[in-house]
């Protein structure tokens, strides 16, 4: 059926990159979330200066803090991956190297998010 589609129909909403504007939209959405979450996190960390391990664990265990941290980890690694993807697209012109780096960035970002969320969850649920 697809051969009956006009070129305009195929391109509409997708553009030449085949992914349309999701990338742009996700970058702005995660950025907006991070304005709140990262500012909160900075204040959270600054409030913990000089506290020992038990105090820090107790602070992370508090439900809203744990929720905030998980939200931060998701938005932060997502945003970082999007940003690094754009930088790699702009400066890496060797397609094999670009593929390797893009894959590495995605895997490391997901790994970082999983590790962070696992740690926060385990602390919050009593380790």
């Amino acid at each position: 059926m697809s051969k009956f589609r006009t070129p305009l129909k195929n391109a509409r909403g997708l553009g030449t990159a085949k992914t349309g504007t999701e990338h742009f939209v996700h970058q702005r959405l995660t950025a907006t979330a991070l304005i709140v979450l990262a500012t909160w996190f900075l204040i959270f960390v600054l409030s913990l200066i000089g506290s020992d391990h038990a105090t820090a664990v107790a602070a992370v265990s508090r439900p809203w803090n744990a929720i905030g941290l998980v939200g931060l980890l998701v938005a932060m690694f997502w945003h970082a991956q999007i940003g690094l993807q754009v930088i790699l697209e702009d400066y890496i012109h060797n397609s094999l190297l670009a593929l390797a780096l893009q894959t590495t960035v995605k895997f490391v970002a997901i790994l970082g998010a999983i590790v962070g969320i696992f740690a926060v969850t385990r602390i919050a649920l009593g380790n």
Binding site: T32, L34, H53, A80, I87, A119
Partner: protein, 131 residues
């Protein structure tokens, strides 16, 4: 064929430095630094989960001179990226697109980042500086 270097379009090196270029480049540079910082946040949370001994490593590194130096640069990178990020979001709404507005908002990002960095470290120093 094609043994001669092809002409290139003008790139960064032919332009006089201006603040809009600096803010754009810094946004990317601080973004890369913050991406590495994200990994450090995840690693620190893992250390917090693993116990007091692992956590002591984190606070030990954060308290050392090189840790302090990194935290200082990191805090500025955060302050800059969030100020300039807000600037970009405002510009996405087609606000402030005149050249003079671009220059003004660029300087606001730079000054904002310095204010955030000063506030953070003023607080750290009043807390006795223990990380």
């Amino acid at each position: 064929m094609a043994t001669r270097e092809r002409p290139l379009s003008p790139h960064l090196q032919v332009y006089r430095w201006q603040i809009q270029m600096a803010t754009s480049i810094l946004h990317r540079a601080t973004g890369v630094l913050l991406a590495f910082g994200a990994l450090l946040i995840a690693a620190s949370l893992l250390a917090l989960m693993l116990g007091p001994q692992a956590w002591e490593h984190v606070t030990g590194v954060a308290g050392a001179w090189y840790g302090r130096a990194f935290l200082f640069v990191w805090s500025w990178a955060f302050g800059y990226h969030i100020c300039n990020g807000i600037r970009h979001i405002v510009q996405d709404f087609a606000i402030g697109h005149s050249i003079s507005a671009f220059v003004r908002s660029a300087w606001m990002s730079v000054i904002g980042s310095l204010i955030i960095t000063s506030l953070v470290w003023a607080w750290v120093l009043t807390q006795g500086g223990a990380a």
